[in-house]
């Protein structure tokens, strides 16, 4: 056995990527840290290896490939659609496993046929994992942020509440807390003494006067020159907050949301289950369901083993650039995620692309796949 740490199946993996018609890319190991922190949030800071350039720029060791591949795509201006494949080392501080390990994956940028592109991502991921683990059963979990957004939208909640719920999607605990709050509002919202004064002066009903008052206060306190939030922002959000405080989710709607979040069915049965849910609840979510159905039928055309996939309505990732499909591939009966992916239509514009570029992709956890292969050897 060669004394290198590249996964033993690296060559086969690259051959798979090539047969799938992807373009292989590499990116520098040392990356600017800013885009990762800006996209994934401050929590990432503890999990990446950061350093500084001589000029004080924050740098990090590549913690993943999606952002560097997308940045590269934006810089290269080679046009879309493009399907990129990568294989290389990533660096993260992990509780389990080493701090440097190989990751591979495919990023599919710019295909406007989202149902087909989603289906291809899921089936490619399943196929590649299955090729490494012949004869083993995979289990795939699939979720869809867009369906949840449609359900929340159809419930008739004020915009502020919709935003809160959508933002919490994928974070079970936080979402549950918000729903409980909606059902039993503890207080009518917390408003400071200044707001009470504004209300007595009748400023809250008159947006123009309110904006003028906020602007004058900013001026008087020397805050205005560098203020990030404008008087208009503050006045608008104050109005939104009053709406939030006055909203109560009725029992029936809350039951609908709870019933939706409890859906966990084989993907083949999901379109019927969602249709039945829409019928029973009376919520208008037809557009999202049409797109969901289109993805399921596209997926069955790819020849992927649909029986291995379950749809779980509450499955999502609480990051604001994920927009639709999310999925994870595991070995049946284990909880180690071997491949994970999803649709991130908002990422490229957030990273600075001028036009909207739909995107879907997945990454493969090669060290876990190696472990799964080894466990098979041990079992035999």
């Amino acid at each position: 056995m060669a004394l290198i740490n590249l996964p033993v199946f690296a060559d086969e993996l690259l051959a798979d990527f090539e047969s799938l018609g992807t373009l292989r890319v590499d990116t520098p190991v040392i990356q600017p840290a800013e885009p990762f922190l800006a996209m994934a949030g401050e929590d990432l800071r503890r999990r990446i290896f950061m350093t500084e350039s001589e000029t004080g720029e924050s740098l990090c060791l590549r913690p993943e490939f999606t952002i560097p591949v997308c940045l590269r795509h934006i810089e290269a201006v080679t046009g879309t659609p493009k399907r990129y494949a990568y294989l290389g080392e990533v660096f993260r501080q992990r509780r389990e496993g080493g701090n440097e390990f190989y990751q591979a994956g495919i990023e599919d940028l710019g295909d406007t046929d989202t149902a087909a592109a989603d289906a291809r991502a899921v089936s490619d991921a399943m196929r590649i994992v299955a090729n490494r683990l012949p004869g083993r059963h995979l289990s795939v979990t699939l979720g869809d942020q867009a369906v949840f957004e449609a359900v929340v939208g159809a419930c008739g909640l004020p915009a502020g509440w919709q935003k809160r719920l959508i933002h919490a999607f994928g974070d079970q605990k936080h979402l549950q807390k918000l729903l409980t709050e909606l059902a039993h509002p503890r207080t009518v919202g917390v408003f400071g003494p200044e707001v009470v004064r504004l209300s007595m002066d009748g400023l809250l009903e008159d947006e123009d006067r309110l904006v003028a008052h906020v602007a004058a206060t900013m001026e008087a306190t020397g805050y205005s020159t560098n203020a990030s939030r404008s008087p208009e922002d503050i006045a608008r959000r104050l109005k939104e907050k009053m709406e939030l405080a006055n909203t109560r989710l009725d029992r029936r709607t809350l039951d609908h949301v709870a019933a939706f979040l409890a859906l966990d069915v084989p993907l083949a049965d999901a379109p019927a289950a969602l249709f039945a849910f829409a019928q029973k609840s009376g919520l208008k979510i037809d557009d999202a369901l049409t797109r969901f159905d289109a993805r399921v039928s596209a997926l069955s055309k790819t020849g992927a083993e649909i029986g291995a996939i379950r749809y779980r309505s509450a499955f999502g990732r609480p990051l604001d650039y994920y927009t639709g499909l999310v999925f994870e591939v595991e070995l049946a009966g284990s909880h180690a995620v071997l491949a994970g992916g999803g649709r991130f239509d908002r990422l490229l514009t957030l990273l600075g692309a001028r036009e909207h570029i739909p995107a879907v992709g997945f990454s493969l956890w090669l060290d876990r796949i190696e472990k799964a292969i080894a466990s098979e050897g041990g079992a035999q």
Binding site: G41, R46, K163, R164, T217, N226, A227, R229, E240, D320
Partner: protein, 231 residues
Amino acid sequence: MTITIALPSKGRMKDDASAIFERAGMKIVAVGNDRSYRGRVEGADDVEIAFLSASEISRELGNGSIDFGVTGEDLVREGLANADARVEFCARLGFGHADVVVAVPEVWYDVDTMADLGDVAADFRARHGRRLAIATKYWRLTQNHFSGSHGIQLYRIVESLGATEGAPASGSADIIVDITSTGSTLKANHLKILTDGVILRSEACLVRARKAAHDGDPVVARIIAAVRGVV
């Protein structure tokens, strides 16, 4: 075995800590001259005193090179991951009070709770082209409070090592996480504390590094009991 206690090396904290130990029957005398960084307890040869800066004390507790330390709870919780697993807060000493708080500009009339801040943070990038920026030197406490307790992920920390209260007005950050004891500096800078924005009510504590060797050590037990008896 000799037990090492680290005390703050200067200022009010040093005087207050020495006073507590004296009341507890452990009069501390400097070894050599008054400015020395080493001391001992009168009549106790098995106890050594090291005078260190408050932030050094939390670090040394974390790596176990001292047995006890007197320092602010904020510094220990900020300096050490999983603080409670690595150290024991034996006694709260009643001085060095400071709250670590989340404060926003007073003129943000729409923001009084962390939930409000979460709403603002969620929209921030779409409206202003960047994440909500928080000036602080308390990275860990901020992350735990925002992500752990309130599900807020979308913000950026801007490191600030001094005059943090001025950051919102100068435009280097939108809000701050900082310590305050009376709130007067916040007020002077037109900032307000969120109603659920108190991350930690800190004060000086007697802190023990968790070491297996401490189990059943009579000196360790005696020190804890003596200090607890006078606070």
